[in-house]
Symmetry: C2
Subunit: 247 residues, 2 copies
Amino acid sequence: MTRMNIHSVKVACANCSMQQICMPSGLSSQELVSCDDMVATRRKVKRHSTLFRSGEKFTSLYAIRTGFFKTSVASEEGRDHVIGFQMAGEMIGLDGIVNDNHSCEAVALEDGEVCVMPFHRVEELSRKVRALQRHVHKLMSREIVREHGVMLMLGSMRAEERLAAFLLNLVHRLHARGFSHSELILRMTREEIGSYLGLKLETVSRTFSRFVADSIVAVQQRHIHILNQEALRHIVIQSGGLHPSLQ
Amino acid sequence: MTRMNIHSVKVACANCSMQQICMPSGLSSQELVSCDDMVATRRKVKRHSTLFRSGEKFTSLYAIRTGFFKTSVASEEGRDHVIGFQMAGEMIGLDGIVNDNHSCEAVALEDGEVCVMPFHRVEELSRKVRALQRHVHKLMSREIVREHGVMLMLGSMRAEERLAAFLLNLVHRLHARGFSHSELILRMTREEIGSYLGLKLETVSRTFSRFVADSIVAVQQRHIHILNQEALRHIVIQSGGLHPSLQ
DNA sequence: CGCCGCATTGACGTTCGTCAAGTCTAGTGG
DNA sequence: CCACTAGACTTGACGAACGTCAATGCGGCG
């Protein structure tokens, strides 16, 4: 419910640690400076606050600097379905472009900070800076491909396979950001995991328990230790899952 | 298996009946002519031929002029999962942008014809023609939003709801192209429908039979007559589905 | 005409959802 | 500092929905 406080800090993409994830590579330093113009402000977001809601006017894309988000689509009756979890270096808001309105909502699962990039500036700049145009197209295409993977998962995997794919995907993305390849802390509840995976929270919980019984992972609440990554991978592969291309 | 024959016809977007679906609106006639430059050739595609395969080098987007396609992602063992059905006026190939390789495959379900649009030309032109840039961004965003709807369906609907949503979506898109709002011919098998909906073909068949028993549709093989659209809509809505925004 | 692929239908099994009880943990206030 | 509480998580028993296997029907094409 709470709206985040607008925090106006002047930005420098050139100094940003997320640069190599967030920005196109091979920019001249001059082009990098002009990319700064793309970012209007940074915005701090508190845990459980909403970055944008479904139906809200679309103006900007958001590049996550720090923190962890979920995006979800809401149906009429308040039921909502999680369609993705996003972490530092990833972009959210692309859904808003087509109708100038957001069709999903983004909620912070922990305190964080995003770069607010007004889309008209993105378009303006990407008409001039070719590498940026490329980058925007790739970002959107990547999101399309990621969703293909999710659709494959939802359409053809069983509970164990879904959870295994989910854990592998998460730890893979975290590892790419310098975290452990075997330990992670879940920022979301079992219910949110279930919503994402198309399962009920009880099934998620039971499946975790089965993994623990098989010594594949150790679970202490939201702290997950992956003991046998090979086994996890095997669970996904054996049924023909498209491996970690789930982004 | 069969590759389609390359059919080099010079193109005129200005005369194309798909123009208002496929192209941005509000182009000057000069801009429309320059859009022709975007289309290298048209290509006829025969039923069951593959437009592009997973892993294949990405060079072009394809705008469907006529015909009906399925796109699917393939897993290692040959199992594949249908992720969408595309008809005239829709664009396929966006998945290839991110890695310069296609990550899904497109197969024609009936004879048709596509406009081949080399992506480097699309990028070049959309740096000059602002309306085209807009249009490309909206196309990609629309695909993202469509997939959100599919994920919602796969993640939270039961078989009846999925099939109802599927039929409503199909007939809605066909109607927008001048076809009946109550009759349609399915170009795909029950198995392909099932793959798309995350169901087995037997379940699709049984669900059709139930709809017939309830006088909601009449089914004769692939010929579908929707007798009670309201009932179909009600099946989807009651469970909180995001209605026909499934594109 | 006969074959082959597609579709339908039935019987049965598995997986997951539902309902309900109970446990654990973090955060709050006395 | 500890007791208390609310929310999150776990676990069990049961049932519903869907998958699996198998037999049969139908229609189009050679």
